[in-house]
């Protein structure tokens, strides 16, 4: 009976030691974002029968439990896709806004000054200064078109680079996850830290691409809209192939571009294939129709040198790339007298054609959705602003949502130092008491031995 008490005390000592070990591990990992809190699971040892009584036999630690709620973990992982998506859009669209740089004048200002120069020319078409000013203001306008277009194209190219980099990250992540699947299956036993690692990698992957995760027999399977990315210890590679994202397995290649809707990759693809091309197209349309309409009218007029049927801008054949290609006709640049302000030859102060060109300023252009040049551009700016604002506020909302889910997840899996401190005391006392029990049993045994002496 007494030896059984020593054994019970010993089991208490052991259990307390294991508990203290896990507490110190929790404390050590308190700031490790991947870490899930662990807690020992105690079970009473099977009691033994003593005549009609069942006598307790102490405690043992049967398991170290990883405190983890699958529901919150899944929710967290799933919401990260949209977070990555909005974050990229917010950042890139913010960049696009600064490309248009409207607050400090920008293209709309250059356009207004272009018309102003025509007004001045219409007042005095004979003035060389007015002609030079018009050429100057036109160059500024052209420069504005060039710069915005150039930077948008540059950004478009940079996004291609980002897509390549994101694909490389995704491939690395899926390989690591497949590797962990294998490790977890082969190691058996305590693999909590491997689970932590795998969960963290899956979350990272979720931010980059929209995935669905299934867990089966300790292994995760990861799919992208039906296409496997990870199965057991096998990871399937993605590749960039021109404008397509291609899923790759041995000898099969599938274009999965349209299946990628969320995550950083989804956002980059949308920016690359839809949003930025739309801005470029609108800017090109504006440049093209401005060139066309001004040229059409300009050709009907006469310059101071009686030149006739001359384009003001270099003629453009199609809207594609117009914002990059818009240029002043070099004849006009060389000889400002060729600016055709007059509607008839040999009438230097005739400004009828200049006035007709100025009429374009307030004309609704059918090809520009029946808006004037200025209105069309201000609509484009409003669209850029709206897109940027939407992305930014979606991101804020999504971040709040993710933080909230993360709080719920942490409320189960996170380490609370206060709690650990309380547990530390608790198990310290348990250890003390168990040790004390041993010394008391020791005295009891001494008493027993001394009985015979």
């Amino acid at each position: 009976m007494i030896s059984s008490i020593i054994n019970i005390a010993l089991s208490g000592l052991r259990a307390a030691q294991i508990a203290l070990n896990e507490i110190s591990n929790n404390i050590a990992n308190a700031e490790n974002p991947k870490y899930c809190r662990r807690s020992p699971v105690f079970r009473e040892n099977s009691p033994i029968r003593y005549s009609s009584l069942l006598i307790g036999q102490g405690v043992k630690v049967t398991d170290i439990k990883r405190e983890y709620n699958k529901f919150f973990a899944t929710q967290w992982q799933e919401e990260l896709g949209l977070l990555g998506d909005y974050e990229v859009k917010k950042q890139v669209l913010g960049q696009i806004e600064t490309i248009f740089n409207e607050a400090d004048g920008g293209l709309s200002n250059a356009l207004t000054e272009f018309w102003s120069a025509w007004e001045d020319l219409s007042y005095d078409p004979t003035s060389m200064a007015n002609r030079e000013t018009l050429i100057n203001k036109t160059q500024v306008l052209i420069e504005n078109f060039h710069q915005i277009a150039e930077r948008l194209h540059q950004l478009h190219k940079e996004i291609n680079g980002e897509i390549e980099a994101t694909i490389a990250d995704i491939n690395k992540l899926t390989q690591q996850i497949a590797g962990l699947n294998k490790d977890i299956k082969e190691t058996g036993g305590n693999v909590d830290s491997l689970y932590d690692e795998r969960d963290s990698l899956i979350r990272e992957l979720s931010e980059k691409i929209d995935i669905t995760v299934f867990e089966e027999d300790k292994e995760v399977k990861i799919f992208l809209d039906g296409c496997p990315l990870v199965e057991g210890n096998k990871a399937f590679e993605l590749k960039v192939n021109g404008d397509q994202i291609v899923w790759n397995s041995d000898d099969v290649e599938i274009d999965i571009t349209s299946r990628i809707k969320k995550g950083e990759l989804g956002a980059y693809l949308r920016l690359k294939n839809e949003i930025i091309p739309e801005y470029i197209e609108k800017l090109d349309n504006l440049a093209y129709h401005l060139v066309n309409k001004v040229n059409e009218q300009h050709k009907q007029g006469y310059g101071l040198d009686n030149s006739h049927n001359i384009s003001f801008f270099i003629d453009l054949s199609s809207p594609e790339g117009a914002a990059r290609d818009i240029e002043l006709n070099s004849d006009i640049l060389d000889s400002p007298n060729k600016i055709a302000a007059s509607s008839a030859p040999d009438e230097p102060s005739n400004n009828e054609n200049a006035l007709a060109i100025l009429g374009l300023k307030d004309t609704s252009i059918p090809e520009l959705n029946d808006t004037t040049f200025e209105e069309f551009y201000s609509c484009l700016i409003a669209k850029v602003g709206n897109d940027a604002k939407e992305a930014s506020s979606f991101f804020e909302q999504q971040k709040l949502l993710v933080d909230e889910i993360r709080d719920k997840y942490d409320s189960i899996s996170g380490v609370s130092l206060d709690e650990e401190a309380v547990n530390l005391l608790k198990f310290q006392y348990m250890y003390d008491a168990s040790a004390r029990l041993i010394s008391i049993t020791d005295e009891m045994i001494k008493t027993l031995i001394n009985l015979g002496a």
């Binding site: 308190a30 700031e31 974002p33 669209l93 913010g94 806004e97 600064t98 248009f100 409207e102 607050a103 709309s108 200002n109 356009l111 207004t112 018309w115 102003s116 007004e119 001045d120 219409s122 007042y123 005095d124 004979t126 008839a344 040999d346 009438e347 230097p348 102060s349 005739n350 400004n351 009828e352 006035l355 100025l358 300023k361 307030d362 200025e374 209105e375 551009y377 201000s378 700016i381 409003a382 850029v384 602003g385 709206n386 940027a388 604002k389 930014s392 933080d403 993360r406 709080d407 719920k408 942490d410 409320s411 189960i412 996170g414 380490v415 609370s416 130092l417 206060d418 401190a421 005391l425």
Partner: protein, 293 residues
């Protein structure tokens, strides 16, 4: 709910970031004086402000057009006054030389004066504004009148400026008013008078008197219509100045930050920031471990 240390830190950091963002916005607004720095700050407001700025710049351009036209008209007005005065002098001379008290001698010297007056008038009608002859219609690079003949060499071109998006007004007077096809050619008339003086022909001088009156009427009519147009231009200029003020106000309302409000916001955000910092500084070190002996 279990609140973990990680949650507390994260929330503090998120809150600090958020307040810092507000502060940043406030500073930006105060420094720039603008409510809208980027299109996304207020996309509609930005689009509106682009349109208003363009209106404003156009209004100012119209104002400039009108001001330039008015200077041209002022010059035209004084030229017309000069011609009127000269014609009046011609009329005086003609009346006095038509009378019987005049004789061949006085008429001869009057002829000299009239010849000078013609030169004077020629100088006036060939007035240039900048490098343009103001009475030449569109053909402003050539003098509309010359001593060699009495014909008008300009055309009927009316130089127009825009005073709004749909209306154009002309501001010049073609020199044909001095030599209309269906009226009196002032220079021919003066030549005739001069000849009559030189030849000592009182009958012919008297015959010229009626033509002088008609020529004066031509000039006075031109003055009257110019005066009416100048009044119109002045009126439009005042209107445009009003619109300038209006649009400046509207743009300011659309774009500019309400400094009083931003200053108050800044105060509030600074207070919140300080309170959050204080709370963070106090809360983070608190931990049960501090109290374990």
């Amino acid at each position: 709910m279990r609140i973990t240390n990680g949650m507390i830190y994260r929330n503090f950091i998120n809150n600090l970031f958020r307040i810092n963002e507000h502060l940043e916005e406030d500073y930006e607004k105060i420094a720039s004086g603008k409510r809208i720095k980027r299109p996304s700050d207020d996309p509609l407001g930005m689009a509106r402000s682009i349109r208003y700025r363009s209106y404003l710049s156009t209004i100012r351009q119209y104002k400039r057009n009108i001001e330039m036209a008015i200077s041209w008209q002022n010059l035209t007005e004084s030229a017309l006054n000069g011609v009127e005065n000269a014609l009046q002098r011609v009329q005086e001379i003609a009346i006095s030389q038509a009378s019987d008290t005049a004789n061949a001698n006085t008429r001869k010297s009057a002829a000299k004066e009239i010849e000078n007056i013609k030169k004077h008038i020629l100088g006036i009608v060939n007035t240039k504004f900048g490098n343009r002859y103001i009475f030449a219609g569109y053909i402003t690079n050539n003098p509309p009148f010359s001593e060699s003949d009495n014909n008008y060499h300009g055309d009927e071109g009316l130089i127009k400026i825009r005073i709004n998006s749909t209306t154009q007004l002309s501001f010049n007077i073609p020199g044909s008013v001095f030599a209309p096809a269906d009226g009196i050619n002032i220079f021919q008339m003066i030549d005739n008078l001069k000849d009559a003086m030189e030849n000592n022909e009182p009958e012919n001088i008297r015959a010229c008197l009626d033509e002088i009156k008609q020529a004066l009427d031509q000039v006075i009519n031109a003055q009257a219509s110019l005066g009416a147009k100048m009044n119109l231009f002045e009126e439009i200029k005042v209107q445009l100045a009003d619109m300038d003020l209006d649009f400046t106000g509207i743009i300011s309302n659309t774009e500019d930050a309400d400094l009083a409000k931003v200053t108050i916001d800044l105060g509030i955000h600074q207070t919140v920031y300080q309170a959050t910092l204080t709370a963070t500084a106090k809360a983070i070190p608190i931990n049960l471990f501090n109290y374990l002996g």
